[in-house]
């Protein structure tokens, strides 16, 4: 359960307030206009941006003072989710151990995860030798392998075509949602939210609103979101 407690984020003259609780085991979409603060919200949860006020809690534990790597959080950005100079296997190994050392069991786990995302046999490839979809899968595989319960997706699939994007979203939802976990996904396409998200957090006008059930929200969007969606 992720709690944002009276959180206030400040970047130059931009500010964002959030006071909300995300349900356990869900997939939550973050929706809103560009520049509204969606990525800022994720950066704060991941620990890249210190809040001006308030706390970030995971299952009641305060994450606010922890650096990114010490949080139970994995994050995928729009790009640069893999080190281009390392092989797929090396990239995955860094998800398990910052020194890149893996035990025999961990190596077996890597093989298993790669099979799950459909990349069996590509361990020795560098990212440049993978297609865009395969790169996304490899990054997902690392997130899976690291086993951190809270996963943040900052539009990592936005460069993919619609078919491939839907496929990656389904894969992410099936393996990263579930009991004791939470998947938080930034998108600007309501179809993405409809596809996999049980709830939606709307970020606009400097406020991240409490999560609403997806279907109900999209059927009757509030005024700001309605304008953004063009309806």
């Amino acid at each position: 359960m992720l709690t944002l407690e009276n959180l206030r984020l400040q970047q130059d003259d931009f500010s964002l307030a959030a006071d909300l609780v995300l349900p356990d085991g869900g997939v939550v979409a973050v929706l809103g206009p560009s520049g509204g603060g969606k990525s800022t919200l994720l950066a704060a949860i991941a620990g890249f941006l210190a809040p001006a006020a308030g706390r970030v809690l995971w299952n009641g534990v305060d994450l606010t003072p922890l650096p990114p790597a010490r949080r139970p959080v994995s994050i995928l950005f729009q790009d640069n989710n893999l080190f281009p100079h390392l092989t797929v296997a090396q990239n995955l190994a860094l998800g398990l151990d910052p020194r890149g050392r893996v035990t025999a069991e961990q190596r077996d786990a890597m093989t298993e995860v790669l099979r799950l995302v459909g990349l069996s046999g590509l361990e020795r490839r560098r990212p440049a030798a993978l297609s865009g979809g395969q790169q996304s899968r490899a990054a997902l595989a690392r997130v899976l392998l690291s086993g951190r319960p809270l996963v943040l997706l900052d539009e990592p699939f936005s460069a993919l075509g619609p078919g491939l994007r839907a496929e990656m979203l389904d894969l992410a939802a099936s393996v990263l949602g579930g009991a004791g976990r939470c998947l938080l996904m930034v998108t600007h396409d309501p179809e993405d939210a409809r596809r996999i998200a049980s709830h939606v957090v709307v970020v606009e006008d400097g406020v991240a609103a409490a999560p609403q059930p997806t279907a109900a929200l999209l059927a009757d969007p509030p005024a700001g979101l309605r304008a953004y969606l063009g309806r």
Binding site: G47, P67, P68, I75, N80, L82, R126
Partner: protein, 480 residues
Amino acid sequence: MLWRAGGALRLAPADAGALWFTLWQALLSAALSVAAAIPVARALARRRFAGRGLLVTLLGAPFILPVIVAVLGLIAVFGRGGALNDALGLIGLGPLSIYGWHGVVLAHVFFNLPLATRLILQGWLSIPAERFRLAASLGAPVGRLLEWPMLRGVVPGAFAVIFLICLTSFAVALTLGGGPRATTVELAIYQAIRFDFDLGRAALLAAIQFGICAAAALAVQAVRLPDTMGGGFDRVVERWDGGGLSRGVDAVALSLAAGFLLLPLAMIAARGLPGLADLPPGIWAAALRSLLVALGATALTLVLALALVLRGGWIATLSGLLPLAASSLVMGTGLFVVLYPVVAPRDVALPVTALVNAAMALPFAARILGPAVAQAEAAHGRLADSLGLAGWTRLRWLLLPRLRRPLGFAAGLTAALSMGDLGVIALFAGDGQATLPLMMVRLMGAYRMEQAAGAALLLLSLSLALFWIFDRGGRADADA
């Protein structure tokens, strides 16, 4: 160093002359270099021709060309028995001498014309193509509207940096200058130590030299300076002006510049090849010493530069700037004065040379590595943070692999600079410790020009080979 200088605070009248000469030859050299560079840069900016890329590459070569090798090449062209005097003799004109102030200035222009051209060309290429299109559609004068404002921004910087480089001229003054009318402060320092053994005067002169260079270095910081380390010179902006007469002007500018730069190098190859068969004994030992010094300096520079760039802050900025103000010879003098009572200078000649060379190359290496580190952090820093890569693991998994190219380039530059450096070694070396450049000076001093040319060719080949190997090493397997 200053403390040691105390008590001996009196300058010979000749020293005031050296100070005066240092200043005006640097002014004249910088002015001539920049003035000559403007038409060359303009021609390169607006003409497309076969060999343009090669010529631009060649403009980067003097940076890794050992000074002493270039001097020998210039002597071969402009010297008493050189190609130019042979030609003048045919039409009955008396021989010109390259020794003296005009030789010093000539050599400085040879070294800095390419640098000035690159700096000014960068300025030309920074004018957006759209502006030329707009000027053409309006029929507006390109020169007054676009080029003159650009030159006003770029030329002072180019002038200042070349003035600074010429202030610290030692090897050129040692070989082509000398005497009451062409002695630089650096040469005076060398003579005070080697011939008069007046350490107090040497230290005072070194302090003066540091003072004027520090002032000039501050001035350089104040002016805007384009970065010529990177690429981007292959762009030729589409232009609609410049037909007819200007085409001929450009052709003349390019031919003169290419001839001026290429002829001395060609002469070294031509004279050096026969000399290779007759190299003096001890040359291979000298080559080995040079190689060891160069490799030691390279390793040291890379470690220091990486540490500086990663640490950042004002200490990094300062230690990146200081070597610009303190020349190889000034640092060498300081070390000589400090070490002299403790150890015999000749016992530490090679380590000290490597150390000073490393310090000299440090600002360049830091300038090459800095942007690359910033880029790697910008692209992959957050991923590394989220994975908990810190300290050594961050260096190993993120930075070193991303820095391979700039590291290779910096290593190549350092090795080539160190290989060809003739500064501190001239102060410290005993008879059996000459590096290759010092060996060349000794051969030239003994008028064994044939052998000196052979040694020059060897030195040039080794410098270029070191640069090539390191630079290549950084590029290999760089598909990612």
